[in-house]
Amino acid sequence: MINRRRFISQTATAALGVAALPLLDACAGGGGNNGSDIALAWWGGNDRVKRTTKVVKLYTAPHPNVKISSQFAAWTSYWEKLNTEAAGGSLPDIVQMSVSYISDYTQRGQLLDLSPHKAALKLGDFDKQQLAQGMIKGKLTGISLGANIPAMCYNSSAISAAGLPAPANDVTWDAYPTYLSQLAKKLPHDMYALDDGSGFDGGFTVWARQRMDDIFDDDGKIAFTENDLKDWFGYWDDLRKAKLLVPGKIEAAYAQIGTPDAEPLVKHQAAITPTWSNFVSQYQILMKDKVALERFPQGGDKAGDYVQASQMFSVSSKTKSPKTDVDFISYFIHNAKAVQVLGVERGVPAPAATRDAIKPTLKPYDASQIDFYNKVGPLTRARPKPLPSYSGALFDALTRASQAIALGNESVSGGSSKAFDEMQKAASS
């Protein structure tokens, strides 16, 4: 499911959700003056649990005074729990934060402004775009743990077997169908040129940002119109009618299963798929053919591509141990051993030195994320504003409309107007 892609990009893992099992908190007595008990919370799957737990152990080994108790859960239950804890004024000291919620949390005074701790966090070579996404109204409340870029992931083996060049990095939306139809003619008959990206939030955002400042305005209201939606769905529908796009029935079958191994790209039903850049690793693990990344087609008068911090660490405003919290975060993003354990599982790290240090230690597909980041990063246009909290509901409406149009249940204009109506409701509720 395409909205699962967004979900998984936030969890950045294919692993199924992990039950909310807090690790046993083996703390003995309260922390004295020179010791701290830190509660650490994050969402994510098994791979993340393993990596993060390992880093916690690495950190606490030389710090016997610090006890870190972890709690982790899958995305939905994580937010249920965190919101309840926030309501009760008992937020864990360090929480993994998303671009969708950081604004709400900061404005309700739940998060500590980390600006006074900049020196300890060593933000000198920290990616500017990722840094900006943790900055809410002048307060630095989130430290990015990694970022992704919306991208076209393509099967380069299949495309070169078809005798075509890889998609160009400056191809326009207008020229793209020509390339796709040349490709479609040479591909095996059961392989479509492109996977349906009309329900992909990152893709829509890139496309819309090429024609406007952003899809949300300064007040967090919707900045695009129903006509923009019509244009967007219309573009994809034309590709569908020209048989360049994976048809709705196959999309629906994939959406019903929802795991990466059922994706049209992995099942050789599509040569190119719009997705988040971190997905290249999962695809490569599942496929014999070589896969690679290219940015989205271009158009409009602005650059639409953007870097999105997939998750951050934030510190509770009620923490009793801000110095230790900051020290742990700094360790998490800089320490040579720690960053090697973490790899690119949470996205491409923000500090340039970290990226350079881990690249040689990574598997080739993970390293390709960093290469893509280094190549496309400079071509992106910054997106410093946080997402409004209704953005999840908005993108779900996009996905539903995409599916309804692809299956022929709605026309382009009918589906767009219904989706826009639902989006406005979400924004006003």
Partner: protein
């Protein structure tokens, strides 16, 4: 035990207050309350309390993060301009309206067949009951998801017998709801057992009398069996209807929580869950929950009101 007059009880209370021994009746009452205390506490603390809290929340805007904000009946008004809400109502009514009669019909049919003194009756009874034990579980929903998937067992079998493009049971929005209905009907075990027990209760002399009057099997079924089963039909109808209105697990598991494809399986409860826990619209979710409560109460009340026209109790005739 003789009845005490009001004056007597007053005297007794005074006596009890003065430290004298309690009457046996008061002791009995105290023992009774002590025995139901765990249930009573549970009811007050875990059911009634949260229900009242949710009633209050239904008049607020509440996202867990900031304190609830009183907005009056706005949540209820917003429901009526929410197209997904109406869609969810429609899907749920189809589910209730189709699955409940089918399930009861099926249960009755099998109960009648089993009541004819089959050999190995207990084994069949147990076998037919198994789906009801498993049916509402997560595991069975996952099993159905695999079986009815586009390349699942069911379509493989249909293709093997020559149906080249069988329906997409789960990914076609107009078909998927019926796949869920089939899953519900398959769980006919518990109404079947109740019908079977009811069939056993019907006095044989009634059938004999009917035979003497020249009634065939079908006439006997319509004139004797059905009327005498109506109290059980009422019971099963009400229970199954309430259960169907509240169904959640199959749609949640089979659609992966989305109610898809294209909201084809968006049960009312699933939409409620999405609003409350997916988008943190707790007030909106609470309003939906109370509306569902009222609608189920209305339907149940309606069935009870009509019941005196069609439910027949044997005692009445004697």
């Amino acid at each position: 035990m003789t009845r005490l007059s009001l004056a007597d009880t007053r005297i007794l209370k005074v006596q009890a207050g003065a430290g004298t021994r309690l009457t046996p009746k008061a002791k009995e009452a105290i023992a009774g309350y002590v025995f139901i205390l765990p249930w009573l506490l549970g009811f007050l603390g875990l059911t009634l309390g949260p229900m009242l809290a949710s009633l209050w929340l239904s008049f607020t805007k509440y996202n867990l993060l900031s304190p609830p904000q009183w907005i009056g009946i706005k949540n209820y008004l917003n429901l009526f301009s929410d197209s997904r809400f109406f869609h969810a109502v429609r899907i749920t009514l189809i589910y209730v309206g189709v699955s409940v009669p089918l399930k009861l019909g099926f249960a009755l049919l099998l109960a009648v067949l089993l009541n004819r003194g089959l050999r190995g009756l207990t084994i069949y009874r147990a076998l037919f009951y198994v789906p009801s034990l498993l049916g509402s579980s997560v595991a069975i929903a996952i099993l159905w998801r695999q079986m009815f998937g586009d390349s699942g067992l069911v379509n493989a079998a249909l293709k093997a017998i020559g149906w080249h493009s069988p329906p997409s049971w789960l990914t076609d929005p107009s078909v998927s709801i019926y796949t869920l209905i089939a899953l519900a009907v398959w769980e006919f075990g518990s109404p079947m057992i109740i019908f079977l027990a009811g069939l056993r209760q019907i006095p044989h002399d009634l059938y004999e009398a009917a035979q003497i009057d020249g009634a065939g099997r079908i006439t006997q079924f319509i004139r004797v069996t059905i009327p005498l089963l109506t109290p059980l039909i009422l019971f099963n109808l009400v229970l199954q209807m309430i259960g169907a209105f509240q169904a959640f697990t199959p749609a949640y598991i089979i659609s992966g929580g989305t109610g898809g494809p294209v909201d084809g399986t968006l049960f009312y409860t699933l939409y409620l869950y999405q609003q409350a826990f997916g988008y943190l619209q707790m007030g909106y979710g609470a309003a939906m929950a109370w509306l569902l409560f009222l609608v189920v109460a209305l339907f149940t009340g309606g069935i009870f009101l009509t019941s005196r026209f069609w439910v027949f109790y044997l005692e009445q005739s004697s």
